[in-house]
């Protein structure tokens, strides 16, 4: 097992998200001009072309759209196997997340999940998902 998890590249357009995870908020980008929500975030609204970007804090609940059970090869900072899902958030956006405390034969499309937090260190907290 290698030392730590792969750390996300963070830029001007995504920093708000990672600042949110540090304080226990799952922040979804929202256009300040038209209100369109978006994940992953970007600097320009795809609906109205505005650059004025804001965010909402998601409720932190969602549904499994798809999933995998990763068994091989090794993943830095992870004890295998791990369950990883595409989670459709109730706010209407989709994200990738590790699902913990759900076994490989229990995970299924449609399962309800809630977000939790995996604090790596002072600078990084990853969202993780548990059975709701």
């Amino acid at each position: 097992m290698t030392a730590g998890v792969i750390r996300p590249m963070i830029g001007r357009d995504s920093r708000f998200f990672w600042e949110g995870t540090q304080v226990g908020e799952l922040r979804i980008q929202k256009c300040n001009a038209c209100g369109a929500k978006r994940f992953p975030p970007g600097p320009a609204c795809q609906s109205c072309e505005a650059y004025d970007r804001g965010y909402d804090v998601a409720a932190g609940t969602g549904t499994v759209f798809s999933y995998v059970v990763h068994r091989y090869p090794p993943v830095p900072g992870k004890e295998l196997p791990i369950v990883i899902a595409l989670v459709d958030l109730d706010e209407g956006v989709r994200m990738v997340g590790e699902v913990v405390d759900v076994s490989d034969d229990e995970i299924e499309v449609g399962m309800r999940l809630r977000v939790d937090w995996n604090r790596i260190d002072d600078e990084l907290t990853l969202p993780i998902w548990r059975k709701a």
Binding site: I6, V75, P76, L126
Partner: protein, 387 residues
Amino acid sequence: MSLYRKAAIAGIGATEFSKESGRSELQLSVEAVRHALADCGLTAADVDGFTTFTMDTSSEIAVARELGCGELRFFSRINYGGGAACATVQQAAMAVATGVADCVVAYRGFNERSESRFGQVSLAAATQVNTNGLDNAWSYPMGLGTPAATVAMQATRYMHEYGATSEDFGRVAVADRRHAATNPNAFFYGKPITLEDHQASRMIVDPLHLLDCCQESDGAVALVIVSAERARDLAQKPAYISAAAQGSGVDQYVMTSYYRDDIGIPEMGVVGRELWRQSGLGPDDMQMAILYDHFTPYVLMQLEELGFCGRGEAPGFIADGAIELGGKLPINTHGGQLGEAYIHGMNGIAEGVRQIRNTSVNPVPNVEHVLVTAGTGVPTSGIVLSV
């Protein structure tokens, strides 16, 4: 104006395909280019252009130096991993068709097993300082960081939506390995598998078994592209390029286009529609196909996107050996990347040329047109080769 039959692949060349080449990636590419030039009776002095993948570690000028080429007039690289394969031919074809260059060589060479293994989690991909690296921030830190895992995510959904099974994926592996078994250049020469072997192979990332995943290989392939007119004067029967296309879908990412409604591979639909438009041909005109097969589920999805069958119908389409020699659409007659080698799709283009020349070890009768596709899950490309 159209690219239809304006250019041809005149020469093909390759190194051996192995798990440890014992020489540099640059040397592999140089050897493959020399073989390709010799194949069609040209020399390094004739080459005035090169195309390759953005990912290739050997620059066009480095290859040119080793070959002793003269001045180059055209050089171009295509992004997005294996999605570049057929686009290297497309850009070469556009260059020779417009007179920008006379003789362009497309090449790809790597020690992808003995040095940088693509099947592993790539820290470099996750930390690249560009928008691809920023995109990967939404998957790699969460533990989703191998090609197999990113494909498995689509495979689970495909199974859920259409009732496809692991056995359906396995039939692709069985077909590829059957074809590799009679190809002396294939790594898995003489080693066919059964569907039971596929099912018994260990799980890598559920729902993918080991035998759903392509090899990691060392080797290189090169292709010589010249105008159709010039090709007719060279040593080999030309493989005319009837169409050559790139494609990217809406809300496209590299291997993680998960945020759009359709998490399949609509980018290959873009390529297919463009190939049929340029060539005036359609799926029924293809006697066979080389479908990029780094992972078996993508072969099923490609058959649907390219119009060989309807959405969700690929499991039925490939049943009863339809994609094996003797079937209605034999694919990957060299053994594919599961059976021959994983040279990022370039070895499949070479097989397409051999089928047009009727020199394949697994010849398909009466081939007039061969569809060849490039890497899936990424912005991709395709070509139609014709007699």
